[in-house]
């Protein structure tokens, strides 16, 4: 079985720089207390309702409903690492939380995160409109079976007022090594903040941008239509992609030797090291990807996002089938990356 999600195949427009496009909708049930206040019996009833709705749709959408406490802690961690659920979702207590995920792992519904439902569509490349189309259809299908909390004036009502209205977060995950190298990234991000966009590190709120991967999303969810929010983000993303390409060209023309040295060193370490922390691995993989995008290094069969999964602790433990301490993980990580990169480059 393919251990990767479909969105990791790096297909779709500008997929070399835009690693993924995501639409997330928050929905709550009418006349039901929000998840942080659910009592056992209300939670049970509510989960049953959602499970039935998901099961009704399972044939069309190939979704599978699962209670979170039926999954092992490692499997839960892997879902976070694949960006299918949020880190907060697997924090204890996980009782009365559930997920619905489709076969391709493009659709996920978190049940009882901050809101009753968090519907997420994740696609490769810059495909925000496409992701919205799917999210909208799935939302319609669910809405036919569940009574949503909605107000004509304020829109969809959410547990936190920062999300009301469309209750939508549209986001893109972008790889911007050249903007970081040419020290333009912070300037770009300051401008984004001024037009209501938020920039975060790889794993969302509170995480650093290791590996030059950034997540850009709309900060505001009320006052504009979903299509308008999406259009704004898509336009801004296209501009950022343009700047990143321009910065890459600049580096190649003006600092070719420095670039070649960086990417070859990264390749050398990844294919020869025996101990590798997750942070170092991600940093090096980012440099290797830049080298591959610029034709300085051979392409590998695995995509960048697939390889980054090998840097994550949960995924490594699921691959080896048992728990690993930090020191063991550093060794296994180095071994996996070393073997995979060497093998794939030979067969390319």
């Amino acid at each position: 079985m393919d251990p990767f999600s479909a969105w990791m195949q790096a297909k779709g427009p500008d997929a070399d720089i835009v690693l993924s496009s995501r639409i997330r909708l928050a929905r709550n049930l009418k006349d039901t207390v929000f998840p942080n206040r659910l009592t056992d019996d209300v939670a049970e009833k509510m989960l049953h309702q959602v499970e039935q709705a998901v099961n009704d749709l399972s044939r069309t959408w190939q979704m599978h409903f699962e209670r979170l406490d039926h999954l092992s802690p490692i499997d839960r961690q892997v879902l976070v690492e694949k960006h299918l659920i949020s880190p907060a979702f697997i924090e204890e207590p996980v009782k009365y939380r559930a997920i619905a995920i489709d076969e391709r792992e493009s659709i996920s519904i978190m049940v009882n995160e901050e809101d009753h439902l968090r519907i997420q569509i994740l696609l490769s490349g810059l495909q925000l409109e496409e992701a919205w189309t799917v999210a909208n259809q799935l939302d319609d299908a669910l809405e036919r079976r569940l009574d949503y909390a909605y107000d004509s004036h304020s829109g969809y009502l959410t547990a936190c007022p920062t999300n009301i209205g469309t209750a939508m977060r549209a986001s893109v995950m972008v790889h911007l090594p050249a903007l970081v190298l040419t020290r333009q990234a912070s300037q770009v991000f300051t401008t984004l903040a001024q037009i209501g966009m938020v920039v975060r590190g790889l794993y969302g709120e509170g995480s650093d941008a290791v590996g030059n991967i950034f997540q850009i999303s709309n900060q505001v969810s009320l006052g504009l239509s979903e299509e308008e929010f999406i259009h704004n983000l898509a336009t801004v993303t296209q501009q950022i992609v343009g700047r990143e390409r321009h910065a890459r060209q600049y580096l190649q023309h003006n600092a070719g030797v420095m670039l070649a040295d960086r990417v070859d060193r990264a390749w050398g370490l990844l294919t020869h090291a025996h101990i590798m922390t997750s942070e170092e691995a991600l940093r090096l993989l980012s440099e290797v990807k830049l080298g591959q995008d610029l034709g300085l290094l051979p392409k590998t069969k695995s995509t960048f996002t697939q390889l980054t999964l090998f840097t994550r602790p949960g995924f490594l433990q699921s691959q080896t089938g048992h728990e690993l301490n930090a020191a063991e993980r550093d060794q296994i990580r180095a071994q996996f990356l070393r073997e995979r990169l060497r093998e794939e480059v030979q067969s390319v």
């Binding site: 709550n28 039901t32 036919r144 004509s152 004036h153 304020s154 547990a159 007022p161 006052g223 020191a327």
Partner: protein
């Protein structure tokens, strides 16, 4: 402190706290200019707060929201606001101010007065222009169209474009009549 020196190469260094698991975290603290090095296992390091800054988002939207909710021009929240509770779920405004989260969908109505300015500060707007649920949404769509037409009519009157205003007025009337005769389809489908 001889035993607190660098881990020896010839055998596995054990955690200096629990002395049972292998040490995998090098924790270095500086107190009054003096540096202390400790080698701990992951669990002990976590308990000692080594990951505190790494793993816990310290400045989340909820934290900021708490401050915003409490902020009034005078800097004081009237007692009446503090005592407010949602009649449906019993959640208090005070709890909302502490957590940044509401208790249920009815809290929006219960705390409407306080929430409206907050929502405006957060979103720059208080009006939803997005998706309308298909079920029971026809009424809402019609209301939205009516509101838009009324704004256009008022605007035309303000510009003294009375012919245009009359056109909008007729459209409003037609829509209102249609609504009255067709009734509501709320809850259908």
């Amino acid at each position: 402190m001889e035993q607190n020196s660098e881990p020896r190469q010839d055998r596995v260094q054990l955690c200096q706290r629990c002395e049972s698991r292998p040490a995998s975290v090098h924790m270095s603290t500086v107190v009054n200019g003096e540096k202390f090095d400790r080698f701990l296992c992951e669990d002990c390091a976590r308990q000692e707060g080594a990951y505190h800054f790494m793993l816990v988002p310290q400045f989340t939207i909820q934290h900021v929201l708490g401050g915003l909710i409490g902020a009034t021009p005078t800097g004081q929240r009237p007692q009446a606001v503090i005592d407010k509770t949602c009649p449906v779920c019993g959640y208090s405004y005070q709890q909302f101010a502490e957590t940044g989260r509401l208790g249920c969908d009815h809290c929006y109505e219960a705390f409407h007065e306080e929430l409206e300015p907050l929502v405006k500060r957060l979103h720059g707007s208080v009006e939803h222009h997005g998706k309308v649920p298909k079920r029971g949404g026809q009424d809402i769509l019609q209301q939205r169209t009516l509101e838009e037409l009324r704004t256009k009519m008022r605007d035309a009157i303000a510009r003294e474009a009375f012919e245009e205003a009359a056109k909008w007025r007729d459209e409003i009337r037609a829509l209102e009549q249609q609504h009255a005769s067709g009734g509501s389809n709320h809850g259908s489908l």
